[in-house]
Subunit: 459 residues, 2 copies
Amino acid sequence: MSLTQIKTETGDFVNEAVLELINENPITITPLHDLLIKMNTVDIAEVFESLDKEKTIQVFRLLPKSLAADVFSYIVPRTQQVIVEALTDGEVGKIINELYMDDAVDFIEEMPANVVERVLKNIYDDKRQLINQLLQYPEDSAGSIMTTEYIALREDASVREAFDTIRATGVNKETIYTCFVIRRDRLLVGVISAKTLLLSKPQDRIGDIMDARLILAHTTDDQENIADLFRKYDLLSLPVVDKEQRLVGIVTVDDIVKVIGEEFGEDIEKMAALNPSYEPYLDSKIFRLAGNRIVWLMVLMLSATLTGYIISSFEESLAVMPALVAFIPMLMGTGGNAGSQASTLIIRGIALGEIQPRDIVRVIWREVRIGLICGTALGLVNFIRVYITNSQDAMLSLAVTLSLIVTVILAKSVGCLLPLAARKLGIDPALLAAPLISTLIDCTSLLVYFTIARMILQI
Amino acid sequence: MSLTQIKTETGDFVNEAVLELINENPITITPLHDLLIKMNTVDIAEVFESLDKEKTIQVFRLLPKSLAADVFSYIVPRTQQVIVEALTDGEVGKIINELYMDDAVDFIEEMPANVVERVLKNIYDDKRQLINQLLQYPEDSAGSIMTTEYIALREDASVREAFDTIRATGVNKETIYTCFVIRRDRLLVGVISAKTLLLSKPQDRIGDIMDARLILAHTTDDQENIADLFRKYDLLSLPVVDKEQRLVGIVTVDDIVKVIGEEFGEDIEKMAALNPSYEPYLDSKIFRLAGNRIVWLMVLMLSATLTGYIISSFEESLAVMPALVAFIPMLMGTGGNAGSQASTLIIRGIALGEIQPRDIVRVIWREVRIGLICGTALGLVNFIRVYITNSQDAMLSLAVTLSLIVTVILAKSVGCLLPLAARKLGIDPALLAAPLISTLIDCTSLLVYFTIARMILQI
């Protein structure tokens, strides 16, 4: 029980004990080493986040060789660079040679050119060739997130031979729980789970018990589609093939768990009019953060010029009844909120595959009715509020309330229509939502308001 | 290769062939049966989504017994109910008895009371007891998403005995890739992966080769925290224990892939001022959709009353210079966008664990600088635009531009401050963001605008 006692679910408790040992000067090696090897790899990697350069190198060199590469793969790029720059050429080569191929590629992608050059110079030829090949796949493609360490079995092997293969090579493979069945030329013909292997007889032939219902990806497929396949089919791993259906790599579920977080984060950021970024907030440079925001702010600011023109063109009406101005923010705000509620649900529905462009009529009809319900409820409350606070001016209250109801219905319609139209045109619905929808709804609500006010109040 | 040929990655092609066979009247059983058993379980379940009641029952009865429960677990609740209502008591019992415990609980939670009663009456006593127990865990807790089908090994068993256990019971377990090592009273003492078992000698003792560095959850832990553990430690499954650290269930990665999608979706919806919902959009009732939206719309509309008061209290200034009105939407809009950019990034950072409440000073300092950069750039463009379009009125342009810069900086500060404050107070940052931030920023930008305009334009 000693280990479960020092290991809490979050690792916080252990981290404190480790940091105490590390902060001693000089470090007493043996107790620190003993504690480190009892810790989870991910937790060890986390320890480095709070160390300075000198301690980072000292502690990293203390890790047993068998652990070093694994810990390295979980360390943040900034610290990876510090470590690589301090190690000898030979040490660097050893670490990188031991990384899984996807981790090696992730690492190389984050390093500056001089570090990349030094790393590539010190690793095995075949590893270097593979890395160079993987680096060429487009960002966010299956090829860029796949790894090349998988277990391949021959169709005519027996279960006993399969286990021999797994025992002989399994320790260096990222997953052994799904094995891939290939023919000559690495042609992928089936998959077989370790579960099936364990529950089969030793003399069974792989080709007879494998699953030939292949779910696979091509190297250029987008990672978002890959994530959809994992979500839909409850996969642990997915084979990636080239154009000739030759097996070139696999994607594993742990990477997909991270991709799903990234993709949703991207959607959230686009909807908030931000350029998506992948760096942790506190690690990003101020100018980069500002840069990610400024383009959309500028576009939206300039498109708001339109609202200014609309207001100016109704200046005479406003001069007759200045009280109208006070309701502009409420109307535009409510329209904006009603619209973004609709667009958010539709964008999410599209992302989850629940809504297709062909559902457009059904969706609009739903949103019009929802707009009518919401608008009427809001209008009722609004009428009473305006009536009481504006010297019981029934006509003014009516004008504001009617504008509100029409605005909500129109906002709901625009909010659902634009993402679906974007999808149909092949544009990312999330990207379009923020700027176009808000500008459209702002202009609509102003036009509706002034038109209705003019008619009812005869100004 | 016949199977890979009829199976595309999305299954669309197969679906068409199956639907063609199903739509024949009467159905010719043999070819349909032969096609179905070659399809992926998830794809078969999807076929039911486009069938009417009668065909649903016909096709479901056609599935081989060994496949029926598995397919059933992937069918949407609406169709599950149709099927259960058409089957005999005995058939219902057989299906539900074969479901994994977490799928059975998910199903029961979605059914109306009369169906639940009938189902519980027709299943095994021990299954019914377990279901009743699992139904009592709070929504979204580890207990509510865990399953009870896992492989437990004794500490003093050998690897050979472990494989015997797996072979004897593995087929009914949701995962065999992580086995859980227990002592008397089901006390959890370690985990061991199938990979370790495969790479060990048959006579090795489980207790000596198991991993005692336990990463575990308690039954009442929130699913969001569970997802964080999977993401952080690259887990395939996670043991769930009660207060006495006795193993009561496991959570598997396929459920977590879904949880992550849900949790992000929830955050997106909250930020768009929606009550989170879990139903697919097109399946939801109009009144429920309207209900999810109306509360926030009402709150936001009423809080917008404040902006009305602010405008009214500056009515005299507006009477002197009506042109000021035209810039209100642009200023409020830009403030709102700048603020929601900041709050979105902070809420995401908090959700991913990148930002802690203790980082508050750093975060504000960053946002103030970002606000200054963005505000200045926007201000410059805005000054030129206003100067040109408003008869070269330099003072008016200056007033609008200065207001813009101050508004952007304040909006960025409010946008980062509130989510962090919410987190500190234990309130969900995403929930707070939409209403409070937008109201605060609207009022701030109006106050800033009128105050600056009064000073510069001397009105």
